[in-house]
Symmetry: C2
Subunit: 399 residues, 2 copies
């Protein structure tokens, strides 16, 4: 065998969640484990019309090699959209990427050396850990409460290449950073000389009130902002964007060019056709209404079935996930096979920690399952947890 792997290949590993999802795809399982948006809500007709228009108006341009920066009008749209949220940047600072996952990869490529410290929330988004890990950082969790990072915790991660933050309806915890905390966090970060990566895939999925202005709007030179069309339109086109300060933009652009030359012009033009006339303003309320109903169904089911068992959670004001803390004695990873046997699946919370994992946590998604099935799933989960708490023998695994 003549191949020698790079040292960083040791930091590449199969996604724990994807491995779990394989197990939970057995028929009949109510899966609350997924991180997918609900496909029933995809605006297929609008996408079809957009595709027709692109293939009529500019088919050859759409199918030819294109600029690494992205499709100009889509970059302009993103800049205009961000301005409505308080982040004022020229379109020249918008880089279109293959989903925000690629934005995370490019940021780490440009910013992380082997042995660099990268500060993260605890828990944090697993996909970000996976994107950063091949660049061999040391992950350092920052102190958090139920609003995310504590401003007074930033001094302890001074010197990190950046702090990665997901401020709205975080994956996995569902928590959000409020207005006052944002002000304090941005100030503390500037004081500590700590730049931030702000990842905002879920910001438009609010069910009660829109979230406060992004961190990047408060200190655009110290914060890179990552956005995505995955949760507001469709994930399968793999379209996201990075908004970077002028000090970083050229290097991110060169990294993008080296990685895949450019994001497909066809899909960028399609999405631009869909969004340019204000489609999201009609579409998003429907998505929010659907997901809010499912969130409420899960809240009710949790109150009914898991509250009596001593479980705790915070109701997420948006996004896709509840984060549940089980009684301290229970280990969510160890219990997963029993949950699957009981007909319900979740993601054990330990997957989302880079250190000091809380074994008694789990993540539940409410967006791809009907309210009725959510109720059934939570009831089944409660039954399994009750048996575990009572120390009952584990039922034999079904064949």
């Amino acid at each position: 065998m003549s191949w020698t792997l790079a040292r960083r290949a040791e930091r590449l590993n199969p996604s724990i969640i994807r491995e779990i999802l394989k197990v939970t795809e057995r028929p009949g399982i109510i899966s609350l484990a997924g991180g997918l948006p609900a496909a029933e809500g995809f605006p297929i007709e609008a996408l079809r019309e957009a595709s027709d228009r692109v293939l009529t108006d500019a088919p050859r341009e759409a199918m030819q090699y294109a600029a690494s920066e992205g499709f100009g009008p889509l970059r302009e749209w993103v800049a205009a959209e961000m301005a409505t949220q308080g982040l004022h940047v020229p379109a020249g600072q918008v880089l279109i990427t293959a989903g925000s996952q690629q934005g995370l990869d490019l940021c780490a490529k440009v910013l992380v050396d082997a042995g660099s410290t990268v500060a993260v929330e605890s828990p944090t988004y697993l996909g970000a850990l996976q994107a950063f890990a091949p660049y061999e950082p040391d992950f350092l969790p920052v102190a958090c409460d139920d609003q995310g990072p504590l401003p007074q915790g930033l001094a302890a991660v001074r010197g990190a290449r950046f702090l990665y933050v997901l401020p709205n309806f975080q994956n996995p915890s569902g928590r959000s950073i409020g207005e006052a905390r944002r002000v304090a966090l941005v100030e503390a970060a500037a004081k500590a000389g700590l730049p931030m990566l702000e990842d905002n895939p879920y910001g438009d999925l609010w069910y009660d009130a829109p979230p406060p202005a992004p961190l990047a709007a408060r200190d655009p030179d110290n914060v890179v902002y990552l956005g995505s069309f995955s949760k507001v339109l469709v994930p399968g086109l793999r379209l996201g964007y990075v908004i970077a300060p002028p000090a970083l933009f050229p290097k991110l652009l060169q990294a993008k060019q080296a990685a895949d030359l450019h994001t497909p012009g066809y899909s960028q033009r399609m999405v631009h056709e869909v969004v340019r006339t204000g489609f999201l303003q009609q579409h998003l309320p429907a998505v929010r209404a659907r997901y809010k109903g499912q969130r409420d169904a899960m809240r009710v089911a949790l109150e009914r079935h898991l509250q009596p068992l001593g479980c705790r959670w915070t109701v997420p004001a948006g996004g896709m996930f509840f984060w549940v803390e089980l009684p301290a004695a229970l280990d969510a990873l160890a219990l997963l096979p029993q949950a699957v046997d009981a007909g319900v699946a979740y993601v054990p919370g330990s997957a989302f920690f880079c250190a000091d994992a809380q074994a008694n946590t789990l993540r539940l998604s409410f967006v791809t399952v009907s309210p009725e099935r959510i109720a059934q799933g939570i009831e089944a989960l409660a039954g399994m947890l009750q048996r575990a708490l009572q120390g009952e023998p584990v039922p034999a695994a079904s064949a």
Copy 2:
């Protein structure tokens, strides 16, 4: 400024070619500098029908998150197609990527440490140097002749993580590796314990006879094969594939997942719809006929105008490029502004060398320019070269 760049960011630089292309986009310039395929030949109608079918038959699956490995039926098609070329691998060894550029990036991510040696042809494809460079290798050119790497040159690059080879109608040189050389090269690589990356974007663009079986077919455990739909269908969808031995496949897959989760299912399904019924067998002869006519026009023009000046080239048996060696005294990079003033553009050959650049070389693309314009462009180039050879004063740059 709180951002600290990774050391590798020093190895990220603007593409010289893209900078040149900006200059040559002035109206009236006959650009022989591009590396784009001809958009007139894009099968727009077939793509439109394929899009319709995907959006009718499986719209939600196409727009949802999907497997990092790629769309199963497309992987099967690639495996079957490669079998006709002598490379027999299961579809499980096919990874769908965002163009073969991403294949190059992922291979380097998994195989290259800072300070690793990467052996390359001389000259070699600039995009590959750009993909590999951020992983901080030392590039080592392998001895080449007009058929590519010399088998006896491989011992000198022993210990390299891999040798990067583009065996068919190489970008930039247009040269190809013949059957006997392939046999000797694979044998010498195995003997030297030197794995190879075989990049084959142009193999289907043959104008005289199909190329010999790929290197990977001769030693599949020692060669990673990179293929692309960019030149046979369209580049703008960014679809390529990596065929990797079982020893490497899982790490490449994990690197793909970390980089962008997966390639869009929609475009994979579209391309699968186009190719599954044998469309390429009807489409490729038309592309070949078009490009062959343009190649022949350039050959005739070069013979007529550049031969008398002492320039040399080998007629490429396929692909998109002529590689021209000017008289030794001339520097193609220094002369480019004069060429542009004379109304014609090329890419200076020095961009394609990682060391010991030959300043008197240039690359000419024949695929996006009509035979008439090719003749005009080469005549203008000859005029400029003649003036340079005669030491005439440089004409003032046009305003």
